[in-house]
C-alpha cells in the first residue's frame, strides 16, 4: 500500500521535471586547501635538507657506493634473508606444533614462544656470542654409537653465526604467532570440505588452509620483514660488519659522522622500499578471489586528482 503511494508520488515528480538531470562530481575545495598547505610544508622541509651544508651531500655521494659500505649492505641483506627464511620456517613448524592435538608438542611450542619473546634480542645476541663460556665444546653423542662429532664452541660461534642464531630464534617466535593466527582464521567448513573430498591432513594444510591463511599472514609478516631488516643493525654491537657497523668504521676514522649516517639511512630506505613493493605484489597474488583487493598507492593519487581509472576486477 505505502509502496504504491510512494511509486506514484515518484512518477508524478518525475513528470514535472522534463529535462534529465546532469550529474556532476562534488567539488572538494577544503581538500585542495589542505593539500596545498601540506605540499608547501613538504617543499620547505626538502629545501632545508638540500641546502643545509652540514649534510655534506657530496661526501654522501662519495661514500654511498664505496667498497666498505657495499660490503656492509651485502651483510645486512644476507642477515635479513637468512633470518627471515629460517625464522619463518621455524615459525611454521612451531605454529603447526601449537595447533596439533599432541599435548607435548603444544607445550614445547608454547614454552619456546614464551621464552624467546621474553628476552630482548640484544641480550640474546650477547648470550649466543658468549655461549662458549657456558658450553666450551659442542659434541654429538649417540647412544650405543658413542661420540660422532665434536668441536670447540669457539670455532663454531663467530660474530656471524651468533648473529644468525639470535635473529632466527627470535624471529621464529614472532613468526609462529603470525602464522598460527592466520591458520585459526580459516573456518572449519574448509577443513570439512577438504576431508570429504579425500584430502589427507598435509594436503588440506598445504593446498587449502595455508594459501587462504596467507592473506591474513602477509600484512603482519611484511611488517616483520621490514622490521627485521632494520633490526639486523643490532649486530654491530658484536662487531659484525653490517651496514651500520661499516659506516661506523669509516666515521670513527674520518669524523664525518652525519654524512656517513646519511649513507646508511639512504641504503636502509632503499632496501625497505624494495621490500614494501615486493610485499604489495605478493599480497595481490594471495588476495585472489577476494572482492576487496588492496589498492596501489598510485590509485589513491589518481582518485584524489579525479582521473578516470579502470576498476579492478572482482
Amino acid at each position: 500500500m505505502s509502496n504504491r503511494a510512494f511509486t506514484n508520488a515518484g512518477s508524478n515528480a518525475g513528470m514535472t521535471t522534463s529535462e534529465p538531470l546532469i550529474v556532476v562530481p562534488l567539488k572538494h575545495y577544503g581538500r585542495w586547501c589542505w593539500a596545498a598547505l601540506t605540499l608547501l610544508l613538504a617543499v620547505a622541509a626538502m629545501n632545508s635538507i638540500v641546502n643545509n651544508a652540514n649534510f655534506e651531500w657530496s661526501l654522501v655521494a662519495h661514500y654511498l657506493t664505496s667498497a666498505t659500505v657495499l660490503a656492509g649492505v651485502w651483510m645486512t641483506i644476507k642477515l635479513t634473508v637468512l633470518s627471515l627464511l629460517l625464522g619463518f620456517a621455524g615459525g611454521a613448524v612451531l605454529a603447526l606444533m601449537r595447533l596439533s592435538s599432541n599435548p607435548v608438542l603444544v607445550a614445547v611450542s608454547w614454552t619456546y614462544t614464551w621464552l624467546f619473546r621474553a628476552v630482548p634480542l640484544l641480550v640474546q645476541l650477547f648470550l649466543w656470542y658468549n655461549v662458549a663460556a657456558l658450553y666450551p665444546h659442542l659434541a654429538i653423542n649417540l647412544p650405543w654409537v658413542g661420540l660422532v662429532w665434536s668441536a670447540p664452541m669457539n670455532s663454531i660461534i663467530s660474530p656471524f653465526s651468533a648473529a644468525v642464531l639470535a635473529l632466527v630464534l627470535h624471529q621464529a617466535a614472532y613468526a609462529a604467532e603470525i602464522i598460527r593466527a592466520g591458520i585459526l582464521g580459516i573456518g572449519s567448513g574448509q577443513n570439512e570440505a577438504a576431508k570429504a573430498l579425500g584430502f589427507d591432513r598435509w594436503q588440506t594444510m598445504s593446498r587449502i588452509v595455508l594459501p587462504q591463511a596467507m592473506r591474513t599472514i602477509l600484512p603482519p609478516a611484511g611488517n616483520e620483514v621490514i622490521g627485521q631488516l632494520k633490526t639486523t643493525a643490532v649486530v654491530s654491537v658484536i662487531a659484525l660488519q653490517d651496514l651500520l657497523y661499516s659506516v661506523q668504521i669509516i666515521y670513527q676514522r674520518t669524523y664525518e659522522v652525519i654524512p656517513l649516517l646519511m649513507v646508511a639511512t639512504l641504503w636502509y630506505i632503499a632496501m625497505t622500499s624494495v621490500l614494501s613493493i615486493g610485499q604489495y605484489i605478493v599480497e595481490r597474488h594471495f588476495g585472489r578471489g577476494v572482492a576487496a583487493q588492496g589498492r596501489a598507492p598510485w590509485e589513491y593519487v589518481n582518485d584524489f586528482l579525479g582521473f578516470k581509472q579502470k576498476r579492478g576486477k572482482i
Binding site: A193, K195, L197, D200, Q203, Q212, R215, F286, G289
Partner: protein, 247 residues
C-alpha cells in the same frame, strides 16, 4: 549400497543418535526429515565420518566399518569417504580457487588424474549443473545458488557411489532454491543414489523414494516418501508436518 546398523553417537552425556538402522539400495533417493536437533544432520555427517560414531557399523559401497572397538584407522576413514560425496549447507567452496580449480583440485591431488582429463570431465559436469559459463569466476563473485551448484559438481567429480546433501538449500535466498533443487532432481532421474537432509517437503515428496523421519535421535518412522510425508502414522511426524504447513 548403504547399510547402517545399530549406530549410536553421543556428544558428551547427550545422546544424539540412538540405535539407528536403515538401508539404501542403489538408485534410491532417501530424505532425512525432522525438527532441528533431531539428529538428522549428525547422522548424515556420520556417513562420511565427519562425525565419528560411538557404536554400530556403516557399510557404503564395498567398505564396511565397525565402531566402538578402539579408534578407527586413518586409511579406513579415507576408503569409506571415497564412496560418498558431500554437499554442505554453506557450500564450502575454496574461495582462493576459481570454479574450475575448485572442482579439479581433488581429482588431481587425491586421485592423481591427469589435469587435462579432469578439466574435460569438469566441463561436462559444469554444463550439467549450468555453471560452465562461470568456470573462471571465484566463488565470491557468484550467488549462493551458483556456488551450491558448483559445490555439487565438485562432489560429483569424485564419482561417488552415494551423494550426501546436508540441507543444501537452507542457506539460500528463496528465489535461488529452485535452481539447486532442479539440479538435484536431475541427478535423481539419472539414478544417482542420494541421501538428502532437507526441510523442503514438496521437493522431498517429489524426488525421494524413501523418507526417514527422525525425532530425538531415533528414526521414528520410515517408508515410502509419499506415505511418510503425506499420511504419517506416528503422532510426532504428524505434529512436525503440521508445523511446516502453518507457514
Amino acid at each position: 549400497m548403504i547399510e547402517v546398523r545399530n549406530l549410536k553417537k553421543k556428544f558428551g552425556d547427550h545422546t544424539v543418535l540412538e540405535s539407528i538402522d536403515f538401508q539404501v539400495s542403489k538408485g534410491e533417493v532417501v530424505c532425512l526429515v525432522g525438527a532441528s536437533g533431531s539428529g538428522k544432520t549428525t547422522l548424515l555427517r556420520c556417513l562420511n565420518l565427519l562425525e565419528m560414531p560411538d557404536e554400530g557399523s556403516i557399510t557404503i559401497g564395498a567398505k564396511t566399518l565397525k565402531f566402538g572397538g578402539g579408534s578407527v584407522r586413518r586409511n579406513d576413514i579415507k576408503e569409506l569417504r571415497r564412496f560418498s560425496g558431500m554437499v554442505f549447507q554453506s557450500f564450502n567452496l575454496f574461495p582462493h580457487k576459481t570454479v574450475m580449480e575448485n572442482i579439479i583440485e581433488a581429482p588431481i591431488i587425491v586421485q592423481s588424474r591427469p589435469k587435462a582429463v579432469a578439466i574435460e570431465e569438469g566441463k561436462i559436469l559444469l554444463s550439467k549443473v549450468g555453471m560452465l559459463e562461470h568456470q573462471d569466476k571465484y566463488p565470491d563473485a557468484l550467488s549462493g545458488g551458483q556456488q551450491q551448484r558448483a559445490a555439487i559438481a565438485r562432489a560429483l567429480m569424485m564419482k561417488p557411489e552415494v551423494m550426501l546433501f546436508d540441507e543444501p538449500t537452507s542457506a539460500l535466498d528463496p528465489q535461488l532454491v529452485r535452481e539447486v533443487l532442479k539440479v538435484i532432481e536431475g541427478l535423481a532421474k539419472e539414478g544417482q543414489t542420494m541421501v538428502i537432509v532437507t526441510h523442503e517437503m514438496n521437493f522431498a515428496r517429489r524426488v525421494s523414494s524413501k523418507a526417514l523421519f527422525m525425532d530425538k535421535g531415533f528414526i521414528v518412522e520410515s517408508g515410502k516418501a509419499a506415505e511418510v510425508l503425506t499420511n504419517p502414522k506416528e503422532a510426532s511426524t504428524r505434529e512436525f508436518l503440521a508445523l511446516l504447513d502453518d507457514d
